[in-house]
């Protein structure tokens, strides 16, 4: 049995809106093991975003257990949460969230800037390495405006990889991309998952994306309604090859 990266038990999250209490998550339990590629799905209002915030240590549960890499997140201070995010999680966002007018390599270095244990040389080396992994070694001095959407998302993936996180947490990472590019990105994820054994949690509402992952968790109204391993994992690279060739 491989190592448990995420352990969630009877997790609840409530928000107080004026006088009303909204129960966004109503007792969720699951574990994610090292090397898994998990998709968390759900329509809007299912508690998916709340789940993502808690998984990303941006928010804390009202009750229940959330452990990441053996660390219980509940009762941690804001600063301790920031350190967890810095050392254990790699974020990827729908809108890339790259710093404008800042080169790719500097964008990738960003998380390491907040880690005082990493020296300047080490930082540069790791950033270069991460950019190489996403196939952008020749674009390190390009700024986001000089890169295509797919390339920008690759920079964001490199940024997520640079701190050697225990888990990559992607939030609709292909939402802004066309089909071809999103398949390219998915194939990159699959490759990272397969060759590097990186744990990936992908939050999305697109069902076809889930087919590329090894496990799907579906949320509805704050409950897990489906949690199953995928028997037939589609290869994004193969799907990409099937797409009609573009004209250019």
């Amino acid at each position: 049995m491989s190592k448990k990266i995420i352990k969630i038990q009877d997790l609840k999250r409530e928000f107080t809106m004026g006088t009303e209490t909204v129960h966004a998550l109503k007792g969720i339990s699951f574990t994610i093991e090292e090397g898994q590629f998990v998709t968390i799905m759900g329509s809007s209002g299912s508690g998916k975003s709340t789940m993502l915030n808690i998984l990303g240590c941006l928010d804390q549960p009202t009750s229940g257990v959330y452990e990441i890499d053996g660390v219980s997140v509940k009762d941690l201070s804001k600063n301790e949460l920031a350190t967890i995010r810095n050392e254990k999680i790699g974020f990827i966002f729908q809108s890339y969230n790259l710093l404008a007018r800042t080169s790719a390599i500097e964008n990738v270095e960003l998380p390491l800037l907040y880690n005082s244990k990493v020296s300047t040389e080490e930082r540069r080396k790791r950033a270069l390495n991460a950019l190489e992994m996403v196939g952008l070694a020749d674009r390190i001095h390009h700024t986001p405006s000089q890169l295509s959407g797919g390339q920008q998302q690759r920079v964001a993936i490199a940024r997520a990889l640079v701190n050697n996180p225990v888990m990559i947490l992607a939030d609709e990472a292909t939402g802004n991309l066309d089909t071809r590019t999103s398949y390219e990105i998915m194939s990159l994820f699959q490759e990272l998952n397969k060759t590097q054994g990186i744990t990936i949690t992908f939050v999305t509402h697109e069902p076809d994306i889930a087919m590329f992952s090894s496990r799907t968790i579906v949320l509805k109204d704050g409950h897990v309604i489906k949690d199953e391993m995928n028997d037939t994992i589609l290869s994004a690279a193969a799907e990409l090859a099937k797409l009609p060739k573009e004209d250019h």
Binding site: A82, T83, S116
Partner: protein
Amino acid sequence: MRLLNLLKIAYKAIVLNKVRTLLTMLGIIIGVASVIAMLAIGEGSKESIRETISSMGSNMVTIRPGADVRGGVRQDASTMESLKFDDYLAIKEQTTMLSYITPVVNGSGQVISGANNWPSTIYGVNPEYLDIKVLGLQSGSMFTEAEVKSASKVVLIGQTVVDNVFPDGEEPVGQMIRFNNIPFKVIGVLEEKGENTFGQDQDDVVIAPYTTVQKRILAITFLHQIMASAISEEDAPEAVTQITAIMREQHKLADDEDDDFTVRSMEELISTFSSTSEMLTILLVAVASISLLIGGIGIMNIMYVSVKERTKEIGLRMAVGGKGSDILMQFLIEAILISITGGVLGVLLGLSATVFIEKFLHWPTSVALYSIIISFAVCAVTGIFFGWYPARKAAALDPITALRYE
């Protein structure tokens, strides 16, 4: 997070918004430049005032015999004979606060040269008198200590005396004159000083060695006055205290006896001077704070806009592990960098403005080091003060909302 990294981040943010940063700095630049230039003008005029005042002998201290009462009649102090040459010696030997000291005896009489004559006053002094009264010589030279010792019959005369006794424009130096029928050789002419504040003609004087005046004109052994100058204006009050103590000792006065002499400094002049310069300083500091305040508000304004504009960036930084304190420091350092860079540019601009004013307007200026240090320090403080609130706001953002901010 290391400070160097923070500096880099802040530097980048500034460089990425060059025009905006420069415009923000403008307030600080103009503020600091005007402070430097104004303080330079202020210091310049203060110095020229100081020169004017010290040319009046502002650090002068005079010792006169005190008034006495004889048989119920109060006597004029000038008729007293209680001030002795020994007093002069005692003060000269014991004091530490004086740079020059001279005995003074004076008498009036008629100056005669050939067919011309003129009533004037003769002052018997030693060579230090010129330094005490800040007098210069037009021609000739001052008498020497040797001439004092030998009670030589030599005099220096003021311009008014020259005009009246040598009306034909002859060179007075080397000529013989008579004062109260005693022949004197003129060895020098004093520089013109005009009237003093009381309307007295300061050029209507004859100066001779005090020994000569004592023995040959007045036939006295006591002194009318002792004149001295304190090392500086600030030292004058202390010099007065010291001299008073020496004189009491010298005159063997018991603790319950009043002084039988008076010691005075130019207190009024000094206090006028210091209150003027204090006013000037207060005024300039007020102007300085107003301009820097406005510059600071400019910084605060732009930092606010910056925090708002970069909300998403802040969210991202927090998501990848930036702590609240990191974000706070980032914006604070950015504000400080802006204000300090503005300060440096302001100092440079202020210095060039000062040079310009000196060169083309011919105003006296003097750049004081303290003005540079102060405006620099104020800049840093302004940056911290006005950067703090926006930075706090940035640091307090919730990463989730910040990330979703559009």
